[in-house]
Subunit: 131 residues, 2 copies
Amino acid sequence: MNIGELARESGLPASTIRYWEKIGVLPKAARIGGQRRYAADAAHRLAVLQLAQSCGFRLDEMRHLLHGFGPGVKPPHRWQELARKKQQELDDQIARLKAMRRLVDRVLQCDCFELAECGRIAASVMELASR
Amino acid sequence: MNIGELARESGLPASTIRYWEKIGVLPKAARIGGQRRYAADAAHRLAVLQLAQSCGFRLDEMRHLLHGFGPGVKPPHRWQELARKKQQELDDQIARLKAMRRLVDRVLQCDCFELAECGRIAASVMELASR
DNA sequence: GTAAAACTTGAAGCTGACTTTAAGTCAAGG
DNA sequence: CCTTGACTTAAAGTCAGCTTCAAGTTTTAC
C-alpha cells in the first residue's frame, strides 16, 4: 500500500501522514524506490491514533501510544498511567462544558437592557470567577 | 481607570485587553493624553467576555456579543441565535467527550498484545468511525 | 525637576497541528 | 519511450490567541 491508498483508507490527507511520521507519531515507513509502503494494518494503527486524538491526546502524547506494542509487553499496561490521567482530564472537561451549557441557558433566559443591571449574567460571572 | 487598573480588576493582562481592542472584540477606549481610560463598568464587560470565552465562544464570535447593548433592544434577544447554536455545539462536544471517556475505559480493560487482534480497540475504532 | 513606573505603538515571536509550495523523482499506461 | 499522475523533500505559510520586544511618550512620586 502506498501513501495515497493509505490516505484514502484512513481518511487522513497524505500530508498529515507524512507529518505524523516526521514528528515521530508514526514510525518511519519502509521505502521502495524512495516511496513509502505500508502493511495492511497501517490503516488500523492510524485509526487508533485518530481515536486517541479525538480522545484529546495531543501529538506528543500520541508518540508513546504505539510504542508499547511488540512481543512480550502488553501495551495497555503501558497505557494505564496515560489513560487514567486522560480520564481525569476528560471528566474535568465534561464538567466544565456542562457548566458552560448552564451558563448559556441562563443568559438565554435573561431579559434586561443593561449588562450592569442583569442579575443572571452577574450570577454567571460570579460562578465563573469561582472556578 | 487606566489599563493597568482594569487589568488588575479583570484579571486579564493589559496586553490581552489591548489585543482585544485591536481586533475589535472591545470598542476603542477613550484616550487621555494617548492613554486609555475606562468607565467603571468596563471590568463588568470584560467579565462577560471572559464568561463567553469560557463558554466556548471564539474571539470572532465574541465581537458581536457586546454590540447588542444599548437603548431599546434587549441584548439577549440578539444573542439567542448565537447562544442556541453554541448550545448545540456544547451538547455535541459533551456527547463526544462522554464517548471518549467510554473508549478510554474500554482500552484500559484491554489485555492483548497486538493492535490488530484487540477486539476492544477495534470496537472503539468502529464507534469512532460511525460519528 | 527628575527619575521611575506605566503607558503607547507596530512588529515579531510563540504553540500546535497542519497545509502549501517548490523543485525534483518515481511508476504505470499506452 | 514518453507522458501523466503520484510520490519525495525541506521550508515556508496558516490559524487562533496571545506574549514579547523595541523604542518612544506620559504620568506619578518625591
